[in-house]
Symmetry: C2
Subunit: 305 residues, 2 copies
């Protein structure tokens, strides 16, 4: 499962029975990320068998309580479970101070190191990069400074064509071929033509997490063509005035963004507690963007290799 | 239901599947109290139909995360649900700072007034008093400054004997009789002898909540004869070394305290996540104190009038 998203919470600010506030678990090529961490996120991680000790990076979109108040209890549980590995926290300014103050009053020193990466939610910033992928912020429009996150795999290596494996192939040749090169011998004679021995790389996937936001055309360019877009849809069209007032979006606004950005799939979430039947929100999005699903608790979305 | 306790969480610091961290709802003569508020307390309040808007006083025993990290989400929900009434918070020093900092970073001003009452957990202090009852701290022995709470009804008025109601009785006479006085006319002639017209008052109940504590003989005097004692019992006898190390109690220590304090009933709680079957903890307490029950999620204890 090279690229898989699991929804831990689908609720807006007020908890609705059976729904939890926003939190998502994302794994990409054996990297494990937590995105937002509302109250009870650790209960949901346990329920959906998230390998919590493998999570090394946590991204918090903004400091409204429903997006981060599950973090402190989760950090304490990791401590009690004897975590040793560094844990990286990415968030707008303030979370470091909030956590440090609570550690002070509990007279606790964690067993592991917390590394804070405060970011400016108003600019596109690369928060994480390694050989396989990047994570950058997506500036959003909300009552409080808020950013989404864009997870993007880098281009992958070409694959060896198993039908054309030759006995003479050495490890160094395979490395060259996977990198797209032809292989020559010391005398400059062509040994293996790349196109004869390799297949195109597997597709590189991307996930745009657009947490709390009002209608926001500015981000369309940045998220163009992503494999998967999560866009909040707190309200239905009939409550569009509430969306305007609270700087949230309707399901049809989310679908319009998905359509205009040409994404492959759209997930809706952050539902207002006023809606008992979420199918009604889905029904408002589907005519505008066909490949839409509800991001409800326990739902899992795998992008195929 | 003049005096009723409902258990919202029974778990120790690490959450166990199906258990929630410590929180209790107590109602006494139409006063509504919340005692500790671990993560997810508001989920449990909703599940067990606690009238959250009637809660005007919240008591926090200490600032370990499993006893207060459900408070901030609960405060935000009260705000979103348009609470207007003042809310009183009693806790060791620090909670005011923690809450104020989180409100600052969420740029929220609550609709209602939060009134902080920091207390010194090392001394017996009366935190609340009105015409019907008092609440005082119970100093405990834990890794972090920690106090329990003793809720005590004041002596009640005598009751009118319904078999002896006389037509001549005026409201002022009834008030005098309920207060234990005889009633005379203006000339000093005895009209109603108290013992002829009234019955003894109903019993006054008391509840001692002894949150996280190591073995603590000091509190026996203070909680002597209470109607109901909640005493943490994080561990079984076989793990007594863990109890010593973490400054918690075993079930048999809790039962010994109950027995020596001559309480009427004992409740056990704050169970370590290592125990799947809580009946084993109960079994260790019962031989030492017969009237013992497990304080598990949803359990409710009513003291009869």
């Amino acid at each position: 499962l090279a690229f898989r998203l699991t929804i831990l919470g689908s609720s807006g600010a007020l908890p609705a029975i059976g729904r939890f506030p926003t939190s998502q678990y994302l794994t990409i090529q054996n990297r494990h990320f937590l995105i937002d961490c509302g109250e009870g996120a650790q209960i949901q991680m346990s329920r959906f068998q998230v390998p919590v000790n493998k999570i090394d990076h946590i991204f918090i979109s903004h400091l409204h309580g429903d997006h981060y108040l599950g973090l402190m209890p989760f950090l304490f549980s990791l401590h009690l479970n004897k975590r040793k590995d560094d844990l990286h926290l990415y968030s707008p300014k303030g979370l470091d101070e909030i956590i440090t103050l609570q550690l002070k009053y509990s007279k606790s020193a964690l067993n592991y190191r917390l590394i804070f990466h405060p970011f400016n939610p108003e600019a596109i910033t690369t928060l994480f990069e390694d050989d396989a992928m990047t994570v950058e912020t997506i500036p959003l429009r909300h009552k409080l400074e808020c950013a989404g996150f864009l997870f993007r795999e880098k281009p992958k290596l070409r694959r060896m064509n198993k039908d054309r494996l030759s006995e003479g192939l050495k490890l160094q040749h395979i490395v060259q071929l996977k990198n797209g090169e032809d292989v020559f011998n010391d005398n400059g004679k062509l040994l293996y033509r790349n196109s004869d021995y390799t297949l195109p790389p597997r597709p590189s996937h991307s996930y745009a997490y657009c947490s709390d936001t009002a209608w926001n055309e500015n981000m369309i360019e940045q998220i163009k063509g992503v494999s998967l877009l999560y866009h909040e849809s707190t309200f239905m069209d009939a409550d569009e005035d509430k969306a305007l007032e609270t700087k949230h979006s309707t399901a049809s606004q989310a679908a319009t963004i998905a359509q205009r950005a040409g994404v492959k799939k759209l997930l809706l979430g952050h539902f207002s507690a006023r809606y008992k039947k979420l199918e009604m929100l889905l029904a408002e999005a589907l005519p505008l963007f066909h490949n839409t699903e509800l991001a409800i608790e326990g739902a899992s979305f795998t992008l195929e290799e």
